[in-house]
C-alpha cells in the first residue's frame, strides 16, 4: 500500500505547529497503524530527519498510551479499538490520512502527536481510590455483591484513560473518563465510605483542569475504545447532586436538652 500522510508536527508546547505531508510507501495491509508510523519514522531517520513523535506502550489495547486523531476520529474510524489495534487494511491504497494530536486546553501538545495527559492523573489522585488499612488477606467472597452491580462496575473499570472521550467531545469535556472512575468505585461496597467525598473531589479537579462541559451528544461513548457508556455520566451527576444538595457532610452538633 502507498499512502499520503498529513501529520501535525510541533517542536514543543511553546512553539506553534503545522501539518507536514509524508509518503508512506510499501506498507503491508497487515501492519498496525503504529507499525506503519514506525516504517515512516525509519525512513525519516535514514534521511536524518526528526522522526514523528507519538505515544505508545503495550501495543495491545490495554495501556491507554496511544492516541492519534485519525481522519476525524480518535483512534481511527473503527469502533471499540485503540490506534495500536487499528490495521492498515482499514484504509485503501492511495488514501490521504490526516493525523492530529488530541485537541484540548487540558492536554497540551508536548511534541508532534504526543499530549500531556497528566490532567487525568490529577483527577484520579483527587479521589479515585479506596482508602483501606492493610492486614490479613480477606476471604475472596466475604462481601456479597449482586451480579448486576459487579457487571456495571467492571464495565466502568475497563476505562484505560486514553483521553479519546475528550478528543471526540465537541466541548473537550472529560466527563466520560471522570464518571467511569467515579462509577467503578461508587458502585462497589468497598467504595461506599468515600463515595460522596470522592465525587465532589474528582469533579472539582476536573473543572480545575479546564475541561469543557458535557452537552450529552454521545460522541465520547461512540469513540471510546472500551465502550464506556453515558450511563456513567448520569451516575456521576446523580451522586454529585446528591452529595452537594442532600447529604450531611458533618454530624449534627450535640445540642440536646440539659
Amino acid at each position: 500500500m502507498n499512502l499520503t500522510l498529513k501529520v501535525w508536527r510541533q517542536k514543543n508546547t511553546q512553539t506553534a505547529g503545522k501539518f507536514v505531508t509524508y509518503k508512506a510507501e510499501g506498507i503491508s495491509p497487515d501492519m498496525s497503524f503504529l507499525e506503519m508510523l514506525d516504517v515512516v519514522n525509519e525512513s525519516l531517520t535514514r534521511k536524518n530527519d526528526e522522526p514523528i513523535y507519538f505515544d505508545h506502550d503495550c501495543r495491545e489495547g490495554i495501556c491507554g498510551s496511544c492516541s492519534l486523531y485519525i481522519n476525524g476520529h480518535p483512534h481511527g474510524p473503527k469502533k471499540a479499538i485503540t490506534t495500536c489495534q487499528l490495521h492498515m487494511r482499514t484504509f485503501s491504497d492511495g488514501e490521504t490520512i490526516t493525523i492530529e494530536p488530541w485537541r484540548s486546553a487540558a492536554f497540551p501538545v508536548m511534541k508532534d502527536l504526543a499530549t500531556d495527559r497528566s490532567a487525568f492523573d490529577r483527577i484520579q489522585q483527587a479521589g479515585g481510590f479506596i482508602s483501606i488499612n492493610t492486614g490479613g488477606v480477606p476471604d475472596a467472597n466475604l462481601i456479597p455483591i449482586p451480579k448486576v452491580i459487579a457487571d456495571e462496575a467492571f464495565n466502568s473499570a475497563t476505562c484505560i484513560g486514553c483521553g479519546a472521550c475528550v478528543a471526540a467531545c465537541k466541548n473537550a469535556s472529560a466527563m466520560l473518563f471522570t464518571s467511569a472512575k467515579i462509577t467503578q468505585l461508587g458502585l462497589l461496597p468497598q467504595g461506599q465510605p468515600e463515595r460522596y467525598s470522592r465525587v465532589q473531589a474528582m469533579v472539582a479537579q476536573m473543572d480545575e483542569e479546564g475541561f469543557g462541559n458535557c452537552t450529552n451528544t454521545g460522541a465520547c461513548e461512540a469513540e471510546c475504545p472500551k465502550e464506556i457508556t453515558l450511563n456513567n455520566i448520569a451516575f456521576m451527576n446523580n451522586d454529585y447532586f446528591s452529595a452537594k444538595l442532600f447529604r450531611e457532610e458533618q454530624a449534627h452538633d450535640h445540642t440536646g436538652g440539659e
Binding site: 498529513k6 501535525w8 501539518f19 486523531y69 481522519n71 476525524g72 476520529h73 480518535p74 474510524p77 490526516t98 492530529e100 485537541r103 484540548s104 486546553a105 487540558a106 471526540a168 465537541k170 466541548n171 473537550a172 469535556s173 466527563m175 469533579v203 472539582a204 476536573m206 473543572d207 479546564g210 475541561f211 469543557g212 462541559n213 458535557c214 452537552t215 450529552n216 451528544t217 454521545g218 460522541a219 465520547c220 461512540a222 469513540e223 453515558l230 450511563n231 455520566i233 448520569a234 451516575f235 456521576m236 451527576n237 446523580n238 451522586d239 454529585y240 447532586f241 452537594k244 444538595l245
Partner: protein, 261 residues
C-alpha cells in the same frame, strides 16, 4: 450560602440549572399550546380573547409568568457561559471536522437556542408587550343570549382610556368586553414573511427539544433502563412533533384564512 455558590459554579451545577430551567420551559409549552388551541375555534375570537383576559388578570398566573421570563433569561445566560467555557477548553481546533456519530440537534443546540431567543423577543414584543403596555389594541364586545347561547360580536369603544375589561349580565344577556388580541393575531399572521419566520422557529423548537428533553434527564442523572424509552418517546413525539406542529399550524391556518378575505 457559599456552599451553594460553589455547587452552582461547578460544571455540573451549571448543567443542573440548564436542565431544570429547560424542563420548566417544556412544561410551559404544554400549557401554552393547550390554551392557544382556542385560536382554532371559529367564534370571532370570543374564547381566545376571554382566555387572554384571564391570563393577564389572574394573579397566580402573573407570578408564574415572571418565573417563566426569569427561566428564559437564566437558561440563555447559562448557555452562553457554558459555551464560552467549552470554546476555551479547545483553543486549537481539528483540521478534519469531527466525524463522531452524534445527532445534528445535539451539536447545534446553541444555534437552535439563538433562533428561539430571537423568536421569543419578537413574539413577546408583538403580542405580550402590545397587549399589556401598548394601548393600541381595540376592544370587542361579545353579547351572549344565555337562553339561546347565541353570541353577537361588535367593536367596543371604551369611555375612559384606562378601561381594562368588563363582564356584566343584562336581562339574560351576558356582555363581555375584552381587548381584541385575536384581531392583532389575524393581522400579524396575514404576512407571509411573518408566518414563515414562525414556522422556522417551530422547526427550531422541534430540534431543540428532540435533544433537550432527554438530555435534561441525563444531566439530572435520572437514567433507568425502564424509564429511558418513555422519556425518549415523550421527548420525540410530544415535544418534537406534536407541540411544534400544533404551534406551526396556527400561523399557517390564519394565513390561509386571510387569503380568502
Amino acid at each position: 450560602m457559599s456552599e451553594f455558590k460553589q455547587t452552582f459554579n461547578s460544571s455540573l451545577g451549571k448543567k443542573l440549572i440548564m436542565a431544570l430551567t429547560g424542563l420548566f420551559l417544556c412544561t410551559f409549552l404544554i400549557v401554552h399550546v393547550g390554551g392557544n388551541l382556542l385560536l382554532f375555534k371559529n367564534d370571532q375570537g370570543f374564547a381566545f380573547n376571554s382566555y387572554a383576559n384571564f391570563l393577564t388578570h389572574f394573579p397566580p398566573i402573573e407570578v408564574i409568568a415572571y418565573l417563566l421570563y426569569l427561566a428564559i433569561i437564566v437558561h440563555a445566560v447559562y448557555a452562553l457561559v457554558l459555551t464560552i467555557s467549552n470554546r476555551r477548553a479547545r483553543p486549537i481546533g481539528y483540521a478534519v471536522v469531527n466525524k463522531s456519530p452524534a445527532s445534528w440537534s445535539s451539536k447545534n443546540m446553541g444555534l437552535l437556542g439563538s433562533i428561539l431567543l430571537l423568536f421569543i423577543v419578537i413574539h413577546m414584543g408583538d403580542f405580550w408587550f402590545t397587549y399589556k403596555y401598548n394601548n393600541i389594541l381595540g376592544f370587542k364586545e361579545y353579547r351572549t343570549n344565555l337562553g339561546t347561547n347565541e353570541t353577537v360580536v361588535s367593536d367596543y369603544k371604551p369611555e375612559t382610556p384606562d378601561f381594562e375589561r368588563s363582564i356584566s349580565t343584562e336581562n339574560n344577556v351576558e356582555i363581555v368586553r375584552v381587548k381584541d388580541l385575536h384581531a392583532r393575531i389575524s393581522s400579524s399572521f396575514s404576512h407571509l414573511w411573518y408566518v414563515a419566520f414562525y414556522v422556522i422557529a417551530m422547526g427550531a423548537v422541534s430540534f431543540h427539544l428532540l435533544h433537550g428533553f432527554q438530555s435534561a434527564f441525563q444531566t439530572l442523572g435520572w437514567v433507568h433502563r425502564k424509564y429511558k424509552p418513555i422519556i425518549y418517546f415523550v421527548g420525540t413525539w410530544l415535544f418534537a412533533v406534536i407541540i411544534p406542529l400544533l404551534f406551526a399550524a396556527m400561523p399557517v391556518v390564519y394565513f390561509i384564512q386571510s387569503l380568502s378575505k
